[in-house]
Amino acid sequence: MQRPEPRQTLARLLGPAGPEVGCDECFDLIDRYVELQLAGQDADSAIPGLRAHLAGCPACAEEHQSLLALVPTAH
């Protein structure tokens, strides 16, 4: 079986180093985070812990990418 390279495996096993929000908080905050990003504002300072969660949770990261791509097409 093909295994991913060790550093990627290690990163997925250990997750982000810093404090992070959970999936529920991520869902609550992601719309504002995306609008701040699209406005060129410092979303990470405004909403601490969200970027770390997106690094550690592939499902939330996918939904973040979708929202980031969808919102500009809607206005």
């Binding site: 079986m1 295994r3 991913p4 390279e5 060790p6 550093r7 990627q8 495996t9 290690l10 990163a11 997925r12 096993l13 250990l14 997750g15 180093a17 992070e20 959970g22 999936c23 529920d24 908080e25 869902f27 609550d28 905050l29 992601i30 719309d31 504002r32 995306v34 609008e35 701040l36 406005a39 504002q41 405004a46 909403i47 601490p48 550690g56 949770c57 592939p58 499902a59 996918e62 939904e63 979708s66 929202l67 791509a69 969808l70 919102v71 097409t73 809607a74």
Partner: protein
């Protein structure tokens, strides 16, 4: 998953005397969805169309994962996701605080519903790999320069997974972080929630980090090279 929490600060809203002031477009959405009779019916249908657009957008991004589905089934899936999202949005209307535009807030419900349906469909009928020996397959074939420095780290990690985690933490870690099982799929199979599973994963990860740090092993400079 869909619980209310206060946002950490405001950009798109102002709070006056305890009541939230929305931007005009968001205000119009909220007011129309809180009316009654035919006006409300029209607003709900407009909301459903908005959510259907988002659901179709998500499914088009994931079309590769739906290769086994015929086009009419994909259309049905988008409708189901929009309907479920519509129910969720209406149930959580009071949670909207105007931290973003209403449409951005509503879209996330449709994206979540569509993404979750695709993940579950693509794993339908597949067994979830939870074999306890999976963690023993953590790669050890490092390059020669990495080998001396990091084989100790990988050995310590295997030991930490074997002895430092509860069986449930180990199962969740193996499924999500080693075997790429989507968190929604695992949540459904284990009859739990995405939030609860991520908490388990988070706790397991913290235990592993603590174990490695107690051994004096340094992690993050090496891990950051992957980013």
């Amino acid at each position: 998953m869909l619980t209310a929490r206060a946002s950490v600060s405001t950009v798109n809203t102002a709070t006056v005397c305890g009541s939230t002031v929305f931007d005009p477009e968001s205000r119009a959405w909220i007011d129309s969805l809180r009316t009654s009779g035919s006006a409300r019916e029209a607003a709900v249908e407009r909301l459903r169309q908005l959510l259907l657009r988002a659901a179709r957008f998500e499914l088009s991004r994931r079309r590769g994962q739906l290769a086994s589905l015929r086009e009419p089934d994909v259309v049905d899936l988008a409708e189901q996701a929009a309907d479920d999202a519509c129910v969720a949005v209406l149930a959580h209307l009071d949670d909207f605080r105007g931290a973003s535009r209403f449409t951005t807030w509503a879209y996330k419900f449709a994206l979540l519903e569509a993404a979750t349906k695709v993940r579950r469909l693509s794993w339908r009928g597949r067994e979830i790999p939870l074999e306890p020996e999976d963690w023993e397959l953590i790669p050890g074939d490092l390059s020669p320069s990495e080998d001396a420095e990091h084989s100790e780290l990988l050995n310590a990690l295997r030991e930490a997974i074997a002895s430092g985690l509860t069986p449930h933490q180990r199962d969740v870690l193996v499924a999500l972080a080693l075997n790429d099982v989507p968190i929604d799929v695992l949540a459904e199979r284990l009859s739990t929630t995405r939030g609860a599973l991520y908490k388990t994963l988070h706790d397991a990860r913290r235990k592993l980090r603590r174990h490695l740090q107690e051994q004096g092993l340094v992690l993050d400079s090496w891990l950051e090279e992957t980013n």
